[in-house]
Symmetry: C2
Subunit: 661 residues, 2 copies
């Protein structure tokens, strides 16, 4: 092992294994996760040439091959529990994208949620056996965010008891579904249902797109790959155009809404239940943000411990770049953020399961808050992570730009999280809608509970109105609880400002919608502050549950750094409204520097605790053994451009030009 | 033309052609630029398949082919003026990277700057005739920022009058030089010069690496491509390892330092002159930042005018997404930034030429400030642009993630600017060193001139010291001059804080270097504030030179938006020290919203004025005619994955798995 890393590990103040157990939830979880990961890491079927050296078509082929191996292994090892499937796939998900994923993550769940028992009996086994390879086709070329705007139609023909599917315009072509381009033979298609001359809005239909056996597109179907993207090279995101394409009536998913044989439409009892999948996916994405950021931090911090550069003291050897204050200031707040998001991700998972059970028992009361929270936190954590991965990459200097670092791939495969499954600004505005509603409810005398209960305490809600500028607090910058309080006050203040600006616009504008649009900057700001408060609160509360003293100490420092860094970045928000004073902000900046020094000796152990065994597969810079330079040279030699000593383009294009002028 | 774009253009308050003349410097410059651009756009030799559909080896081949065509055309059209070469290449530089570029941009200039007349006579014609294809090899695998740490050695052997070049360690292997991997046959190599048993530091040597004619690596030379990167796919960034490789004494560039035949070292008169190239490259990069950001804004704003989504008013058709306040808030401050950087880039070019003339006449007095300014502005503009390109990409939603948008390529080819030619944090600290030196000089009674003259007015420098909190100003948020003053005060305050913290650390620490490191967060913050002030100042001053009233009005609004957006983002800095009050910050946020509304009708014309004819080559979303969706479908059909109706991996991997369970 690299000497620097050995020394770092020996000098740590805590045992990273204990922290890994905290992150996994229990020692037993850690053991089981490693067992499953090792099945893959040690399996020759999963070894392949570095994807960075392959063309996109080759990458797609490797991905299909790995997808197929994974299905085989899951059958072989009897891995069926959804949680275990996630662990089994986790090793792929950060580095790797798989074309048959949507069959398991979207097609089957939608069939289970929205199909009748008869429909499930008809299709489920074929899906599990991969006779049906399914995907989920919702987004169209011209329509993403605004579902009601989707143009694809499914018109019922009572004569033949079929639906006739059409893509009436270029903009109505289905666009983006993963695995649609080349891999899938079925899609669940969202389309405007028309029966008896009337449109009943979006419904889901099971649509065969390729012939089973030959895999050729069926007549009436135009299907293909949408072309290269920033990342997701291995995924055949596809397009689908349907021309008078007929499917049987039974292919409409009819658990809720139904179309009778004669074309009579029967509407569903409630619309709320379709929330479920979205909420699940978004809460899962919070955990994905945590994993991607943790991985980026692992690479950048290990490399910063191994890389020596410049001079700190004249005449002495070049120091580890991790000893530069600016490098610490780049990386340690991100490390703290990674821990914060890990705990938020775990909280989201628990909460989802808890509320899902309630829903199963008919209690939908917490669904609106959960929906608002997942929307906002998905946006908040993905925006932060997106910028943070790039900060980690650039903190590795030139080598970060090379695919040897593994960081470009982490970035390009993470960044769509900001725009898919609900574009982030739209998500923030959904959270804002809940905040405004809550604000109004408090105003009309109702007490809020949950994460927005702070709105009950707004000065403007009190009988004796107080100046916003005299919040009754003195912030203790060494106390996570006190800082949580400060974040709460900031959120309350920004929610109130947004609400008042909105009220003001409503008075002056032609419609509520116009007023909403003209307040949307304030609304997004309020949502961000709310989410930031939630993250700070969950991190602080997590500290209370940590028993081991050494782990508690190191996590408390990370929590403080997370809180204080946020205060420093948003100092204006904390100064306005008098939450903190100018001299406190100065103290905050000073305290941040001290915390960097305190965290420095534990930095490597803190990323070791994330336990990314697989970093070695995707990153030369992030290897556990820190053997960077020799490996980098070996890696580079394999570059496809090095296959021939002299590239043929020299002879073709340059040699004919050469002359002494 | 797309109807939305037509309507936008008809509704603009000014003629974009006039603004294009302002950006180019004169109508004549615009004419000549277009003439040269059209030579390329209309030339069949420069047409090629979309690079996004090609493998890296194919992209490299296309790049070499284009490089060769370009050299031929430049010979044919007699394009020799460096400025015209830039225009001629500009069309490539944003979308395209060319392997022989370093021959013209680094090899020949270094030969001209550091070679003797005899050396120039010997090599120059061969370089221009491409018999010699040269590159510049400085960075090593283990050494970038810290030049003194470079390990490559050139040991003089008086017996044979040769230098013996060696790469003694893995970390000493030359790494990154563009065109080194496969294209070049010569490199200017930076190495530690050793003669008569003594090391004299870094010197430049002309090193043949491949045989002319066969292009095979010469004995003693190990050379190749360093492997795939985030971007720059077309560039064969390379490695070079030398083992007891001998070159004649005459291959050392000897205009300044010399080694006599007997091995006697003659040292140069001054070291300062080697600054020149660095300063030129960095000031050029400021212009590159402006161009890349302008291009990203062009794409995002045109697409936002064409894209319709969601609802603003119930029952009405989906609005252009450019009508959403949040979309305007994402894009218009970036548009304002693009204009700001365009003017800064032009200023840097002028200043460089002016000071270069002074240097030619022996006057080096302005060089230190120019050096500090280019370092800081290179960092400031590239960091801002880096984040801004991604913001533009994400503002295009899902389609921004596709290579059809052109934005991923703009980003990956721009982002190395943050870490090459001086890593940005290191650059900021160089600027800080100049600021600290200036601060000390003012303290010792000297008056500073140039961009740092504000330090003369620091309260602490006055005989009657004043509270920092009572700056004698009231900021007028509608006046660019008054806002420039506010930015000046902010810079002055942060420079002073950094200086005082540095002084304080110096007292308590073992060495100045340790103190410097422990203040470096403050130092970077001070440099950023200084650079921000310079940008605001240059933008404001540019307004004074605009005669056309309609152009003046629209640029003044952009300038105000740029200033106020910065205030809002850094509100804490303006509140602390009492530069602005809380109620002023509230007004600033309100005024920003108004400015968004004011700029809205001119947004498309403002990006048209950048006059990127070539956007159509690299971006489906950014086309001048706004024909997005049909083109997108045509583009996608050409995806390599669509070559076969059924991809072979289906038959190989998926079909064998398919079963009804």
């Amino acid at each position: 092992m690299n000497q620097d890393l050995r020394r770092e590990r020996e000098g740590a103040s805590f045992n990273p294994e204990l922290l890994t157990h905290v992150l996994d939830g229990s020692p037993e979880n850690t053991r089981r996760r490693r067992e499953i990961e090792n099945l893959i890491l040690n399996d020759p079927d999963f070894q392949h040439e570095d994807l960075n050296f392959l063309s996109r078509s080759q990458r797609y082929e490797v991905a299909v091959k790995k997808s197929a191996s994974m299905v085989k292994k899951m059958r072989e090892f009897g891995i069926a529990d959804p949680e275990e499937i996630v662990w089994f796939k986790k090793i792929h998900l950060v580095n790797f994208v798989e074309p048959v994923n949507l069959n398991f993550s979207m097609f089957i769940p939608t069939l289970l949620n929205q199909g009748t028992t008869a429909q499930q009996e008809k299709w489920l086994l074929s899906c599990k056996g991969l006779e049906i390879i399914g995907t989920y086709a919702q987004t169209e070329m011209g329509h993403g965010t605004h579902l009601r705007g989707l143009e694809t139609t499914a018109t019922y023909d009572p004569e033949t008891q079929e639906f006739i599917l059409n893509s009436p315009t270029v903009t109505s072509i289905k666009w983006w579904p993963g695995g649609l381009g080349k891999t899938s033979n079925h899609a669940i298609v969202l389309a405007q249902l028309i029966t008896k001359g009337k449109c009943y809005g979006l419904h889901a239909f099971i649509v065969p797109i390729r012939e089973i056996g030959t895999h050729k597109p069926l007549p009436g179907i135009t299907v293909g790959d949408i072309g290269p993207k920033f990342g997701y090279d291995e995924m055949d995101n596809g397009y689908l155009k349907m021309d008078n394409y007929r499917i049987p009536r039974e292919n409409m998913l009819m658990k809720y809404a139904q179309v009778k044989p004669d074309g009579t439409y029967v509407k569903p009892v409630s619309n709320k239940l379709t929330y479920g999948t979205m909420v699940f996916v978004r809460s899962f994405l919070v955990g994905e943000a945590a994993r991607s950021l943790s991985k980026a931090c692992t690479i950048a911090i290990r490399y910063s411990a191994v890389r020596h550069q410049s001079e700190l003291k004249p005449g002495e050897p070049e120091p580890q770049i991790l000893d530069f204050q600016t490098q610490q200031y780049k990386l340690f707040p991100l490390l703290a953020t990674a821990y914060a998001f890990q705990f938020v991700g775990a909280y989201m998972k628990e909460t989802y399961h808890r509320i899902n059970e309630d829903i199963g028992q008919g209690d939908l009361s917490e669904l609106p808050e959960l929906h608002a929270l997942t929307a906002g936190l998905k946006a908040f954590t993905s925006w932060t992570t997106n910028a943070a991965i790039e900060a980690c990459r650039m903190a590795c200097g030139g080598h970060g730009y090379s695919h040897c670092s593994g960081l470009p791939n982490i970035y390009v495969n993470f960044t769509p999280t900001c725009t898919f499954e609900g574009e982030n600004t739209v998500m923030m505005l959904q959270t804002a809608r809940f905040l405004m509603k809550s604000y109004d409810q408090v105003h009309s005398g109702k007490l809020m509970c949950g994460m927005v209960s702070y709105l009950n305490d707004l000065p403007s809600q009190r009988i004796q109105p107080q100046q916003v500028a005299v919040w009754p607090t003195v912030v203790d910058i060494d106390s996570p609880d006190s800082l949580t309080e400060a974040y709460k006050l900031r959120a309350a203040r920004l929610v109130e400002i947004a609400a008042k600006n909105l009220q003001n616009e409503v008075i002056h504008r032609e419609s509520k919608e116009v007023a909403w649009n003209l307040t949307s900057i304030d609304l997004v700001r309020a949502s961000e502050a709310h989410c930031h408060y939630v993250v700070v609160k969950l991190f602080s509360e997590k500290l209370l549950k940590i028993q081991d003293k050494s782990i508690h100490t190191v996590l408390k420092n990370l929590c403080l750094l997370y809180c204080l860094y946020g205060v420093s970045q948003k100092a204006g928000d904390f100064l306005q409204g008098g939450i903190m004073t100018e001299s406190q902000i100065t103290q905050v900046n000073q305290r941040i520097k001290e915390l960097l020094t305190v965290i420095r000796p534990d930095a490597v152990a803190l990323v070791d605790a994330f336990d990314f065994q697989d970093v070695t597969l995707g990153s030369v810079l992030g290897r556990y053994d820190g053997n960077v330079y020799e490996n980098l040279f070996e890696w580079a030699k394999k570059s496809p451009l090095n296959k021939a000593e002299v590239h043929e383009s020299y002879h073709k294009y340059l040699k004919p030009l050469q002359s002494k002028l």
